[in-house]
């Protein structure tokens, strides 16, 4: 089988225009072949794959941001969220399409939380979507549990020495989400405006949520 042609290197000849007819790469074809064989064997339907792609597309950090903003404005919700992350998210209409449990870790002035998956790439996908590549690569996975302060510093986050850092290592069935601290000076913001401040990286725990009054 031909190895997929690498388009990244320099060419001294011009390419034919890339069209939909171009043969996909080796692994792309392997995926199609495996999927089609399993569908032919009636282990699942083609519609299930299409539906799951739609589910994946519907999951973005905006969902997690909505959860965080609600927790900031609604004390009762925050309590429920910290007790059972999955159940509380479900009350906001966020469905969990898998068997994972969600533990929400609250940052406080004394404790900073960071999530990682040292073994692979477990991540709270139902509420954040798919993880960034750096979360799945060796440097973050290897170092987050060993030298979290140094890791955070590379993200521009300086945690004072008197603040405890807790690193939570995700598993196939237990996933974590960081509930960041609400930034100062945001009392006048609406729940939606608060949600707009909350980024994916803040919910992984590598940066805080910040609010610049002038920029708003």
């Amino acid at each position: 089988m031909p190895y997929p042609h690498d388009h990244d290197h320099d060419h001294d000849h011009s390419h034919a225009p890339i069209t939909n007819d171009e043969r996909p790469g080796y692994y792309d074809i392997m995926e199609t072949a495996v999927r089609e064989l399993l569908i032919e064997k009636k282990l699942f339907g083609a519609d299930e794959i299409r539906r799951q792609i739609e589910v994946l597309d519907s999951r973005t950090p905006a969902l997690g941001a909505k959860v965080v903003a609600r927790a900031w404005v609604d004390r009762e919700f925050r309590k429920r969220l910290l007790e059972n992350g999955r159940k509380a998210c479900e009350t906001l209409g966020i469905t969990f399409y898998d068997d994972t449990e969600l533990i929400v870790l609250e940052n406080t002035p004394d404790i900073h939380n960071l999530i990682v998956c040292t073994l692979c790439s477990c991540y709270p996908r139902p509420v954040l979507g798919l993880p960034p590549d750096w979360y799945k690569l060796k440097p973050y996975r290897a170092r987050a549990v060993q030298e979290p302060r140094a890791v955070l510093k590379e993200f521009g986050t300086i945690i004072p020495d008197d603040v405890e850092i807790r690193v939570s290592d995700s598993t196939a069935i237990v996933r974590y989400l960081v509930l960041p601290m609400r930034p100062a000076g945001t009392d006048h913001l609406s729940e939606q405006e608060l949600a707009d401040l909350v980024t994916r990286d803040a919910m992984i725990g590598v940066i805080p949520v910040s609010y610049q009054k002038d920029a708003a």
Binding site: D28, A33, A172
Partner: protein
């Protein structure tokens, strides 16, 4: 002393190992990568391959393949191997299917 480090840690168990600077790379999934992810989820829903089996399947590719293949390349190769082990697919039928899929496209390889 020496060989025990090969057996007391599985290849993926890298927590605490020394490693380089974190490059904040990310990319939007290619269409086939997204299909591969959806396939993984559907295989899990139907209890054909669960998350733990998938992780072990990737580990058993060996450290050279783990190092050289991309994330979803590892997944799809692991799925094929696991499906062979479970007797759900036979290598020859996958090879045949791959040829069939390839033949849907004109051969554009050159050079």
């Amino acid at each position: 002393m020496g060989s025990e480090t090969l057996v007391n840690r599985i290849p993926n168990d890298i927590g605490g190992e020394p490693a380089g600077k974190i490059e904040r790379v990310e990319h939007v999934l290619l269409p086939w990568e997204k299909r591969c992810h959806a396939l993984a989820d559907v295989l899990d829903f139907h209890k054909i391959i669960n998350t733990e089996e998938k992780r072990r399947g990737v580990e058993s590719l060996g450290s050279e393949a783990v190092g050289k293949l991309s994330y979803y390349e590892r997944w799809i190769v692991a799925f094929a191997n696991i499906l062979f082990q479970k007797g759900i697919l036979v290598p020859s039928e996958l090879a045949e299917k791959v040829r069939e899929v390839e033949n849907r496209y004109p051969d554009t390889s050159h050079g």
